[in-house]
């Protein structure tokens, strides 16, 4: 369901159906930086500056870049997320219609949660292992600041 909607959006962007403010920004503001792995590229949008500087101060600056936490595993998922976020964020940025301070949306939060497990599966296996049935443990309440201090 989710990926279907995203696919439509991606197609829109790529085929020019979505040309307009969104795409203009996407190009002007180097929205394409969504497609690279360089964190500095995210900061092309001044709106990402704070998160960038907060990442520089965090314990993870030398072990994880933005995309390690904010895109899911696997080629397709990764670029779908990037294209979708890239499009919507460009759109939001241009129209100015977004909540400040920025709030991560449920879907992107889930991606970040899973990202922790990409690297730390081993160490948390004991605390996670037996409990899957009654809901997963959430890392963020305790480790809110690992990516952004």
């Amino acid at each position: 369901m989710w990926s279907y909607r995203m696919l439509v959006i991606v197609l829109n962007v790529l085929t020019g159906v979505g040309i307009g403010v969104g795409s203009y920004t996407f190009i002007y503001a180097k929205g394409g930086s969504y497609l690279t792995n360089d964190p500095a590229a995210c900061a092309n949008c001044h709106i990402m500056n704070e998160h960038y500087t907060a990442w520089i101060k965090s314990s993870h600056r030398s072990v994880a870049v933005c995309n390690d936490c904010h895109t899911p595993d696997g080629f397709l998922g990764k670029y779908m997320t990037k294209a979708s976020n890239g499009f919507w964020h460009s759109f939001a940025f241009t129209t100015g219609r977004f909540h400040e301070p920025l709030q991560i949306k449920e879907h992107n939060r889930e991606i970040a949660e899973q990202a922790c497990r990409k690297c730390h599966q081993d160490i948390v296996i004991a605390i996670e292992g037996p409990h899957r049935e009654i809901g997963e443990l959430s890392c963020l309440p305790c480790h809110q600041s690992v990516g952004h201090f």
């Binding site: 081993d122 160490i123 948390v124 296996i125 004991a126 605390i127 292992g129 037996p130 409990h131 049935e133 009654i134 809901g135 997963e136 443990l137 959430s138 309440p141 305790c142 480790h143 809110q144 600041s145």
Partner: protein, 430 residues
Amino acid sequence: NIMERKQESRNPFYRVVELTDSIEDAELWGKNFPMQYDDYKRTVDQVRTRFGGSEAVPRTPTQADPRSIIAQSRLEEDPRLKIIWAGYAFARDFREDRGHAYMLEDQTYTERQIAVKQPGTCLHCHASIYVPYMRAGDGDLIKGFETMNQLPFFEARKLVTHPIACIDCHDPKTMQLRITRPAFIEGMRSLKASQGLHNYDVNSMATRQEMRVYVCGQCHVEYYFKGPEKRLTYPWHKGLVVDSILSYYDEQQFKDWIHAETGAEVLKVQHPEFELWNQGIHARSGVACADCHMPYKREGALKISDHHVQSPLLNINRACQTCHKWSEGELKARVETIQGRTFRLRNLAMDALIDLIHDLKRARETGASDNMLTKAKQYQRNAQFYLDFVEAENSTGFHAPEEAARILGESINFVRLGQVALRNDLNAAR
């Protein structure tokens, strides 16, 4: 060494023993989970914090009470307690609580057992009792509970062996948390019903984070023994705030005892940690008991829950610092600032209550009729209940600082109203 750790992390559980639903002894569970077991055993430690922890006080063992180390007496620390509880078993012996390892012996040998004949109900919270309940109920937990409640304490005592053990909190197959205590199952059912949710079943309906609270809420709560069956009951039928609880007791016309010096029908509150926590900012933010009292710790290549349940102030870096980036000293100071304010107000409230008790006593001595004292005694009941709610709660206000202060403020006001009512009623009779 690295090899070992890699092993551990791939297979954190050694299935050495086949655990079943009837293995009480934690040592056996410990074969599969040695790290948790090692920490669990450390609940014998006794270390004091400013208001919590506990102090290891040596004593000479006797036949009647073989303990060679106990916790400090709260009655000696503050003799005013004897006055506010005059006529009740608590005025005889009341100590600082200490680690889980001691729960069964401290209950068995407290002098409160000498003062009053207690029922088997007591054991619900002081023993590994899941298996004994199942046994006594022929596989029916609630039936076992009902049966054991009605035995005299020392009869029931023979049916249990251990203090709280793994099986009291965990399902032996999945190791998931589970609720094993009938009074909590029933208490939550009546609480949820009061909020419009009927037939609540805690074991199937609670979230994981809730379970990290509820396993503790099985015991760290206010309670009473209902009716001649001495059924353990949690007074949450109208809600968890102090006001709702007292209002429930008033409706039930329940009293714990008659105050020896005033004749008032009074109540004793016991350890309402779950209830007070519920009113605090940590509860509101989803922070569970286990987050602070059983924080994660690293053992080799694994993270595990620290089963050395204790005061978080003895473990600030793990208990608080993942969420709060302040220094240990600063975090301790924050807690003690909160506790200091609570303690100050608690002392004012206690002095107040003792004033009212003295006034009532003097009035009785100088021949006032019971009629003239009715209102004032009612206020004594209220003031005592509110004061005790904070006094008996073990975090000295930390679990909900503003609410604790509010409760003490109300307690002082009840005393005031009692003193005024007494003066007016005596004057009216003159």
